[in-house]
Subunit: 428 residues, 2 copies
Amino acid sequence: MADPFAGVDTSDAPYVIVSSDTHAGLQVEDYREHLESRYHRQFDEWAAERHNHRRLMEEMNGDYVEKWESDNAEGLRGAYDPDIRDKELDSDGIAGEVIFADGDAVTGQESPPFGAGLAAGQITDPELAFAGARAHNRWLEGFCATNPPRRAGVALVPIIHDIDESVREIETLAGKPGIKGIMIPTMWHDKPSYGHPSYDPVWAACAEAGLVVHTHSGEGDWDSYNDNLAQFVLEVPFWTHRALWQLMLSGKFDKFPGLKYAVVECGSWWLGDLLWKADTSFGANPKVKKLNAMTKGLISKLPSEYVGTNVFIGASTMSREEIRRRHRNGIDALMWGTDYPHPEGSWPHTRERLETDFRDVSIEDTRLLLGLNAVRCYDLDLPALETIAAGVGPTPEQLNQDPDLRTSPDAIREARWWFDDYGMEWKG
Amino acid sequence: MADPFAGVDTSDAPYVIVSSDTHAGLQVEDYREHLESRYHRQFDEWAAERHNHRRLMEEMNGDYVEKWESDNAEGLRGAYDPDIRDKELDSDGIAGEVIFADGDAVTGQESPPFGAGLAAGQITDPELAFAGARAHNRWLEGFCATNPPRRAGVALVPIIHDIDESVREIETLAGKPGIKGIMIPTMWHDKPSYGHPSYDPVWAACAEAGLVVHTHSGEGDWDSYNDNLAQFVLEVPFWTHRALWQLMLSGKFDKFPGLKYAVVECGSWWLGDLLWKADTSFGANPKVKKLNAMTKGLISKLPSEYVGTNVFIGASTMSREEIRRRHRNGIDALMWGTDYPHPEGSWPHTRERLETDFRDVSIEDTRLLLGLNAVRCYDLDLPALETIAAGVGPTPEQLNQDPDLRTSPDAIREARWWFDDYGMEWKG
């Protein structure tokens, strides 16, 4: 791999923090004007259903909803108000952000029409899935334009519903300055899986347009959970990162070398073990000749070598253990995120979290995780972000870091222990 | 947890090795006499299909098949010949074994009728699934009786196909001396998932009969792999251990405290991280109150506390990394296995494997992993196994172990780092 630390500033300059996982969206009715008028009748029905959903959430979990919404009343309006949003980013120390749909995770009042955001896979009418996606994408383009260097928008393209229409939408999105990626349905449901060649025009169009493909957590195999939410929570990472292996092991990063994929709000703890398994089963491990044949001709590199070039991880608010595992999982691929304005992440207490969790981490590692990996993944305007960060970013000293702590040149090799264990050549 | 090391012999006495994962089965036609005659017509059709399957395997992978079968010609006949089998166990250093169906993993010539072993979930006619299972179970009972202390049989009960019939079969199996467990289909396909209350009579009957419930690797979501075997290989652990969380998180180990479950030939590397996630999300973590509510009333203990009491791991031939992670994953739950007579495991080179991989492991840890955990899980006859081991088991010295190396009393707590990280009380 290229030296991920080359040129990384180890001074006490403020961190350029890019939150690789934020959410934004209009309140339900406000999407109406962005939707083609021929869908307004269905939209009004859907909006009524959304309000019923909120009433249900209030019945089930009223105290929690009321406390969350009253404690964070102003900040939550940043889901659609750009001035409030910038204030919240500032106070959290965030320079830039990668924006997904569905601003309201608690009662779902900021979902794109017909659930075309995180629930797009569950829509049954392909026409509505695309209509809802286009409505959000139109609004998102304008929203990102309110502060261009700061906002990278992830548009919605429900590829399982219509591949030709998807390619048209990607071509429409290409070159729009605020749009840096697309989100596809996390699961493929009853459609071909993402390794199937029928999706190749989608990957080709994204690679051509420089749009990063995303799956974001949210879906699961609900039929198997018997209303037991714990089953969902434990499985949701599998369903979210499953697309990564579909793309990688079917050779899409070889066929479309410019293709980038990021898995978001799925943590990163699972990655190292699956790279171990994939590297030793499908890569250059001389001890596993029988298995090597399985991907012969489809992939040209070790699975771990795609991480940091084609594969990135929107790891959201990393746990301390995930920070400890950073060299194994991909110091050049992991991207911190706050999940603003959702309750599962670090907002509105990101500074306190960083002050606690990064005290044992080198400055160069921290710069990659908190911002520079995202800058590279999304091709963001680093000088402009540095200017913003100068006013808001915490410094290494503020994160209680040792200015003399440097990352060992062997850190990555030592963390990826399977190269030694299985006698595999380390290419560094 | 109870002290897993209490009373464990740290002398140089030979190891009592129990392979928690072996396979046995008749050659296809030889199952005919164990099958009710009303199924003979369908059996003959199925047997012809099996021979076609072998021809296909020979066409695809002929060199490999020929070399494997000629290199191991005699040992492979131990799939159904008890005298040959005992010779192979002896030379591998194995005292006892836990026997699953499907002796031939390479060309499938020792599958129970209609694929009622590892492929039972894919059978479409429930009547045939049970007929095939009963044929194997009848034969297995006799096979285990050829050397009672040595052989623990795992019978077949395809619970997704008929719950009442499953309970009847479990009641028939109860108390048969060689039968120590049942294998259920790894996946539930289009039937209710294993956390669903409709299966409760099955768990009740197994707890009552003292039969350990198993899922064994082999199935996957084939529709999603586009003939790319690598996708299968990387996902198969998820599909195999999925049942564990269904049972645990839906409270089956609380409702049926005597119920034991083991996941087999699925490795153990994935376990520690999922225990971390489950303990901190659904257990007693004071920081995650919102999530705690998800399993409130269903589970009474931390997820990790069911491991080693209700949950066991037939980890087969552990990798060196899995051996290093033994205290995190469950020093009182992990069970070594050779996978005899399949090619993926350590047979016929188990001794060499043990001599290399256990040199840094304490004697007490090794005794648990190689045999004592299985003795406890399956309630095996330890004195009789010790007599067999006296003639065949390798000694600590033969495994190049340091006789003075003792396991630290803090080893388990240190390995389960999440108790400290999340401020959880350690009950140890």
